[in-house]
């Protein structure tokens, strides 16, 4: 249907209200206030900063462990220790190696994982709070609005089309059909978080890939209310080993929070060989280890969630600036995989983007001529300082845990260079080992069911993510060639989408003599695993109608 779209214009459009996007918005608003106060021209207004957030409210889609390195927040909000909803300082740090029944604490916590001076936080709460600060500055925040498509202009970006609302399952307008806006901005900031959908499109179209492709891990998390006293607030445990084999990159975490809350989860790099590996099930198994079980027994599940993390590090960062646009935070893969921290770099990148944007607005030039300043600032900041030292860290483990440890140790003493620099890598989906299937669907009746008390099946967990979507809308998960699912994939990989999706979105069902892919789009928790891990790269995760998705209260 040809739609008449209303046009809106902003100075700056920020897509995604996470720590990077809000860090950018808040810092820019502060800079603008100072700029205006100094009498400099042109006069600018924070009201011309628009922030789009696809979630129902601020923080709804924010999920992280999380241990916050406060340096980013300290710069953004100097009195954050008094005003931010920090849960508890880290009091007790440990790294554990797990076997099936035992846990060995490493005698020394490796320095990258030493968290003294850091805080355990709920990123959802931090972002909610930051959103409040941003709003106070007069910035225009739009929740339940998604960036659906980029508006291209010349060699760059001129803005974003927001999603159409009120479209039925078959693509027809409903009674309350509301077309998306044509939102133009002098600078568009892509802060969509891990594997942003607009970012993916931009990077592909303008060939912005870094030296290595971006690679990701999937994190599965539960928030529990435990029986009092099992662990103290501030207790931090990072685990390696069981239930993951030494050929898999990942581990688990358990953090003690206030009010008897426990944050726990497990992360696995989406670079494993077995296409039938189920990350959700691995996490459920993790909970049955005596080390974890004794903490959770008698407690209740409060919330569930899943999200991917960008592991690739410095060499996998895309070019971060084009005419009219900047890429910041997780969308630009600024996570420090060695320290497992990305919030502080996200905030810092947002602030550096803000500084760059102010210059661009002052100069009246938003082309790469001015915007390249952003990358220069990154290069001169602690973002590069930190990420450069671990530039080959994640890639080092591609040969397995033990080899990786050796590489990592050598990198540690050589400022990141190690034995091979740069360590090249490929996209994770290339790691699947093909199976010699005979074309029959893998029996799903033996999938993990859980005991309903300590462990849960995916549907029960998804229910606890608070995820909901307007039911009557087109599926936001676009599979470019459904035939591949029922013909090639059945044989070659056994339809791994049924396994890697932590929300039971994908199912292969019998149809006549063959099979077809059934997509339960409404279960989606917006983790992006499918787009990343599908072996044929035919799944495009696109934004559903705004407001849909999980509700990560307290996560």
């Amino acid at each position: 249907m040809t739609i008449q779209r209303e046009q809106l214009e902003a100075d700056v459009l920020i897509v995604g209200a996470g720590p990077a996007g809000l860090g950018c918005a808040l810092h820019l608003a502060n800079l603008i206030t100072k700029h205006n106060a100094s009498g400099a021209k042109p006069e600018l207004s924070p009201e011309n900063i628009y922030v789009l957030e696809k979630g129902r409210e601020m923080g709804a889609h924010q999920l992280s462990g999380a241990i916050l390195d406060p340096r980013g927040l300290r710069e953004l909000v100097p009195d954050f220790e008094k005003t931010a909803p920090l849960d508890t300082p880290v009091t007790n740090d440990g790294v554990y190696f797990l076997s099936k029944s035992r846990a060995w604490k490493l005698p020394i916590t490796p320095p990258p994982l030493a968290n003294h001076g850091n805080y355990i936080v709920s990123l959802n709460k931090i972002v909610k709070w930051l959103g409040g600060l941003v709003e106070k500055e007069g910035v225009n925040l739009f929740t339940k609005f998604a960036g659906k498509e980029l508006i291209y202009q010349g060699h760059g970006v001129a803005g974003v089309l927001t999603e159409d609302k009120g479209v039925d399952k078959n693509g027809k307008p409903k009674e309350n059909f509301t077309p998306g806006y044509e939102l133009r901005a002098k600078v568009t900031v892509l802060s969509e978080g891990t594997h942003g959908s607009l970012t993916k499109e931009l990077v592909n179209r303008l060939k912005l890939d870094g030296l290595n492709p971006q690679v990701f891990g999937i994190g599965v998390k539960e928030l529990w209310e435990m029986q009092p006293g099992r662990i103290e607030p501030g207790f931090v445990a990072h685990t390696m080993g069981w239930p993951l084999g030494s050929d898999m990159y990942g581990g688990g975490w358990v953090y003690g929070m206030r009010d008897n809350r426990v944050s726990l989860g497990s992360v696995v790099a989406l670079e494993y060989a077995n296409p039938e590996f189920d990350p959700h099930e691995a996490f459920q198994k993790f909970k049955t280890h005596p080390f974890v079980r004794r903490i959770l027994e008698g407690g209740t599940l409060v919330r569930y969630g899943a999200k991917t993390l960008p592991y690739g590090g410095w060499y996998s960062m895309p070019r971060t600036y084009v005419d009219g646009a900047l890429i910041i935070g997780d969308s630009a893969s600024m996570l420090n995989a060695q320290r497992l921290k990305g919030i502080h770099t996200a905030i810092k990148s947002g602030m550096l983007a803000a500084e760059t944007i102010l210059e661009a607005l002052k100069a009246g030039d938003t082309s790469t001529k001015t915007l390249k300043l952003y990358q220069e600032k990154i290069d001169q900041s602690y973002i590069k300082e930190e990420l450069w030292k671990v530039r080959n860290f994640h890639q080092a483990f591609h040969g397995g845990l033990w080899k990786g440890m050796v590489h990592a140790a050598l990198q540690y003493i050589s400022g990141g260079r190690g034995l091979v620099d740069p360590m090249r890598s490929e996209a994770g989906y290339k790691d699947y080992a093909k199976r010699n299937g005979n074309g029959t669907l893998v029996d799903q009746s033996t999938r993990f069911k859980g005991d309903g008390k300590l462990t849960f099946d995916r549907l029960t967990d998804v229910f606890h993510s608070g995820t909901r979507h307007e039911e009557d809308q087109p599926s936001h998960l676009k599979v470019r060639d459904l035939d591949i699912c029922s013909s090639r994939c059945v044989e070659e990989y056994g339809n791994p989408c049924q396994y890697f999706c932590p929300a039971a979105v994908y199912e292969m069902v019998k149809e006549g003599d063959g099979s077809k892919l059934k997509i339960n789009a409404a279960n989606c928790v917006h983790c992006k695993t499918c787009d990343i891990a599908d072996p044929y790269q035919i799944i495009d995760w696109t934004v559903p109608e705004g407001g849909g998705g999980p509700s990560y209260d307290g996560m």
Binding site: G452, L459, T460, V462, F463, R468, E471, A522
Partner: protein
């Protein structure tokens, strides 16, 4: 304790939940050594009053007036206010019907009192009556007590009490007394017009007394007609879990669960439904739950009163046949 039940009639026919309320009143009276009176409101409803008098009540109040022939909130409030002021009951009970929702809270407020509506039960705790009602869409229940002096007002949810437990009057018949009410046409501000049934009324599953719900076990769209026949034989409505509606086999309005309707019918028949939590939250308040599934470990059995581990395609026709047989 003096109880007064306001029974509901329309055009000479009872709303049968009134009898459930009478049962509730009898039980409360038994627990508090109280008496139960019943009232019927309308015009030319003496026969209905006589019918009430055959139940185990102390007295029947016949509240008749020209202007009470058709229900209006003003008419009922003004009229019943006078009845209550004259009869001085401690507790006034109603069935929680659409009509009661329309006037009863205002009636209570006119007397400066509050109403506890849509209760699913009560308890007598050492002389203090505690009313139980659902909150947060059935996820929780709440104990509610009245504050201040009588009269108190409460309504009971349909199905909370069993009408068949209503006992007859011990010595034949209770006295039927006319309750005088004064009403003027000017008191009644809204004018009721004709009632009608809609040709294509949207289904309201929350009002269905019986629901037959199908899940993935139904396998194909062609099989739904069997379940519909069973629903018809039971006098109920067909409903489904989300996957069925996702496929378009039944319209979205028939969906039960966290993203569909929440229901609590007298009888819920779950056919080929596994019992995922998304569905269960929409129906676990049902009074009687029957589950049929060939997987004995299906979670649905945890909340079922009756379980049948068998092939639904053998059970459905057997049930339908049995029902049609015994109906005659």
């Amino acid at each position: 304790m003096k109880l007064l039940v306001i029974a509901e009639q329309r055009q000479g026919k009872w709303n049968n939940t009134s009898f459930e309320t009478l049962v509730a009143a009898q039980q409360i009276a038994a627990a508090t050594s109280g008496t139960v009176s019943a009232a019927v409101v309308g015009k030319s409803v003496a026969a209905l009053a006589e019918e009430l008098a055959t139940k185990d009540v102390a007295e029947v109040l016949l509240v008749e007036h020209e202007l009470l022939e058709s229900y209006t909130p003003d008419g009922y409030c003004t009229g019943l206010k006078q009845v209550i002021e004259a009869a001085t009951p401690d507790l006034v009970l109603f069935p929680h019907t659409y009509q009661v929702r329309d006037f009863a809270p205002a009636l209570a407020a006119m007397l400066g009192k509050g109403m506890v509506g849509d209760c699913v039960g009560f308890r007598n705790e050492g002389g203090k009556l505690v009313f139980v009602r659902q909150m947060f869409q059935g996820k929780t229940v709440a104990d509610v007590t009245f504050m201040g002096a009588a009269p108190w007002f409460a309504s009971f949810q349909s199905g909370a009490f069993r009408a068949d437990l209503l006992t007859a009057h011990r010595s034949g018949k209770a006295p039927v007394n006319a309750a005088k009410v004064e009403l003027k046409a000017a008191d009644i501000r809204t004018k009721p017009l004709e009632m009608f049934k809609e040709a294509k009324s949207a289904v309201d599953l929350t009002q269905a007394p019986v629901i037959v719900a199908i899940g993935r076990g139904i396998k194909a769209r062609e099989n739904i007609v069997q379940a519909e026949a069973l629903a018809k034989a039971l006098g109920g409505e067909i409903a489904a879990t989300r996957p069925i509606c996702d496929e378009g086999w039944l319209p979205l309005e028939r969906q039960i669960g966290s993203s569909g309707q929440t229901v609590a019918p007298k009888l819920y028949l779950a056919l080929g439904i596994s019992g995922a939590i998304q569905h269960v939250v929409g129906m676990k308040g049902s009074r009687t739950i029957v589950a049929v599934n060939k997987d004995q470990h299906a979670p649905i059995f945890e909340i079922a009163d009756y379980g049948i581990v068998a092939d639904i395609f053998e059970v459905i026709p057997a049930l339908t046949a049995e029902l049609q047989k015994t109906k005659g």
